[in-house]
Amino acid sequence: MTIGIATYLLYLAISIALTVWVARTLHKSGRIFLVDVFHGNEPLADSVNHLLVVGFYLVNLGYVSLALKLGYEIASPKESIEALSVKVGTVLLVLGGMHFFNLFIFSRMRHRATMRNAPPPVYPDAFTPVQEV
C-alpha cells in the first residue's frame, strides 16, 4: 500500500467516524426537541428526526466523497499528515455548518409550535354577551 492510498483510507475513516458521531448526537438530542414541537406525538417526532438524520448523512457523506481527490502525489508522511489535516478540517467545517443549520431548523419548528398556542398579545377592554343566531 502506497502512502497516498493510506492517506485516502485514513481520510475516509476519520471523516465517516466524525459524520456518524455528529449524526448520532443530532439524533439523540434533537429528539427531545421534536417531541416538544409535536406536543408529545412521539412516533411523528421519531419519524421527522429520522428523516433529518438521513438528510444529514447524505449531504455529509456526499461532501466527504466529493472532496476525496487530492490532486497531487504524496511522498512523505509529513505531506500525508498535512493533506489529511486540510481535508479533515474542511469536513469538520461542513459538518459544523450542517449541524448549525439543523439546530436552526429545530428552533424554528419549535418557535412556530409555541406561537400556534400562544395567548393573545393584549387584554380585552370589556366583555359582552354573545347571542348566537
Binding site: 406561537m115 398579545p121 393584549v122 380585552p124 377592554d125 370589556a126 366583555f127 359582552t128 354573545v130 343566531v133
Partner: protein, 121 residues
C-alpha cells in the same frame, strides 16, 4: 378562542380593502366579519355600545371579550399565521405607545386616506 368577529365599517374604502386582504390571509384563528351598526351586529351583541364601533375597529372573541381600537388591530394580526410574531412585537411596552398612536391616526383619518388613495366608493 376559535373565532374572532370583526365589526368593520363598510362605508370606508380602506376598511373594505383591508377586509379583502384579510380574507386571503392564512389564519390561526378564524375571522368573521360583520358590518357595523347592522341588524346582524345588534342581534349578535345586544349589550354592546354600537355607536362606539363607528369610531374605531372593534373585535369580539367567541367568548365575548371585546377589543377596541389598537387592541383590535393587534388581535387581527395575532389571528394571522404570518403576522402573529408582529402582534407580540407591536404589543411590547416599548412599541405599544407608537402602535396606539399610528393606529388611532389611521382610524381617525380613514375616510381621508381612502379618498387620497382612490379607494373611496
Amino acid at each position: 378562542m376559535s373565532t374572532l368577529t370583526m365589526l368593520y365599517d363598510p362605508s370606508c374604502g380602506l376598511c373594505r380593502r383591508v377586509q379583502g386582504w384579510l380574507a386571503e390571509q392564512p389564519k390561526l384563528v378564524e375571522i368573521k366579519m360583520i358590518p357595523i351598526k347592522t341588524e346582524a351586529a345588534r342581534q349578535r351583541y345586544p349589550k354592546l355600545n354600537h355607536e362606539l364601533t363607528a369610531d374605531d375597529l372593534t373585535v369580539v372573541s367567541d367568548e365575548g371579550a371585546v377589543y377596541f381600537g389598537p387592541k383590535a388591530w393587534l388581535m387581527v394580526l395575532w389571528a394571522l399565521c404570518r403576522y402573529r410574531d408582529w402582534a407580540y412585537r407591536l404589543a411590547t411596552p416599548r412599541l405599544l405607545p407608537t402602535t396606539r398612536r399610528v393606529v388611532s391616526m389611521i382610524s381617525e383619518h380613514r375616510y381621508q386616506i381612502s379618498r387620497a388613495a382612490g379607494l373611496a366608493r
